[in-house]
Amino acid sequence: MVSNKIEVKNLAISYGGKQALGNVSLEVRSNEIFGIIGPANSGKTSFLNAVNRMDMMRPNMQVTGSVHINGIDTRSWRNVYALRRKIGVVFPLPVGLPLTVYDNVALAPRLAGTAGSKADLDELVERCLRRAALWDEVKDRLNHLGSLLSGGQQQRLTIARALSQSPEILMLDEFSIAVDPVTTMRIEDVLKELKNEMTIILVTNLVQQANRLADRTAFFLNGECVEIAETEKLFNGEAKDQRTNDYIGGKFG
């Protein structure tokens, strides 16, 4: 079944009057990996912040236009916390909260009050850590501080944490910036599996990563969505816009 999970219409984002992203309309289909590529400052992260309404945390960030998830306008959700529980986020730099490995993963269910019994929670933590390909490395030190793991491990811990509420959407923002290539490949394999269960938005600064993973890819440049197409087409030189070809071909960025 192909349906639209996220529909974005005329989305524009500005910070204190300075436009970061203008007039983006796109849709993300259920169970696809939607790649977003583009150089720095092109509005990729702002886009993600608008989707899970993190703009509420930033008083100077103005968002216009609409984002529909499951057909419902996110602006109309008063309980943004419930919205955010449906959306897992992985940040560029790993954020191991200063809690134990176990508590890092168990945090969200506990906050939401859906933790259930100790046995249920244990099982959930193990399942999330396994899916993030981290379980074997940390199963003996679940009580160690998560912030003391290595960078690559912390990033997988962040993914495990993002999975702990069985989100419908997973957004990754340049997750491989601080991760070694081997770990990156492991996480990419994880993403390919997760695709069956959720919709993934993958913002990446590695053009080839989008090529490897994304079903469709959008190219953002200077706050403008230049082009959206099947990833294959873009990488076979069938991009309609010359700027996309130049970026993918490595002529700039």
């Binding site: 940040f91 954020v95 909260l97 809690l99 506990r110």
Partner: protein, 304 residues
Amino acid sequence: MNPSHANTFDARDKNWYLDKGFEILMFFCGISAIVFVVGIFLFVFKEGMGFIIHDMNLGEFFLSPKWRPTSLNQPTYGIMAMVAGTAAVTVLAMAICLPFSIGAAIYIAEFATGKTRETLKILIEFLAAIPSVVWGFIALSIMNPFIIKTFDVPMGLGVLNSALILALMAAPIVTSIAEDAFKAVPDTYREAAEALGATRWQTIYKVVLPAAKNGLLSAGLLGVGRGFGETMAILMASGHSINIPTSVFDSFRALTATIAAELGETAVGSPHYQSLFAIGIFLFFITFLINMTADFIVRGVRKG
């Protein structure tokens, strides 16, 4: 190499001498603190040592509540009542001060923005600028009748009055250090928690507070240090009678206030004079211990 170049590189020109001069000046500024601390320490030690060696009975000093240094036939030097009073006031003051100060710090660091925030910070710092004798005056002329009326007790000077005053006096420093502790928590933690669907309060309670734990602890310890060290306000608010307090309305006498009140009336070099310096040495150790602990904890923050 061209010899003229070698000369340029080797020349001690004006800037070189200025630089050296500043380095030496800054060095003396830097070590002056150490010189003064060591100097004060030696002076207090020298004045108090005679008493510690000749007159002091360790058991009596710490365990006797009787402070009668001026008794002609049998002077006793027991500081137990004063230690108990000082400790009781410090504990009560912190119990009042910490929740409010940390609450204020949370508001300033996490919620307030722009003008509100700046105004609050300035006002709280202003609180720190009030001289302690003014606090003592407030204790005597406002708190005293207030406590007498509210609780229907014969006297309003004592543990409760002192603790309230001390809580107010410690609040600014505790608040500003607690705020620093919150500011030191990376924003990424807050974003990560919020992205997981945490509410503002959940973010603060589950993520920011644990992350700022060590800084908050050291803020509390500095408040305790303030409590032990405060003199003038406590002298005026405590009632100044030697007594182990058994209720919050009881009068007591603080260690520092004893030194302040009695030092001027003793003969230099007498056992009484020296015993006051022995109290000073004791206070020195207490504050030293508290500051060291706070320091170790803060260092823990930087490492973690």
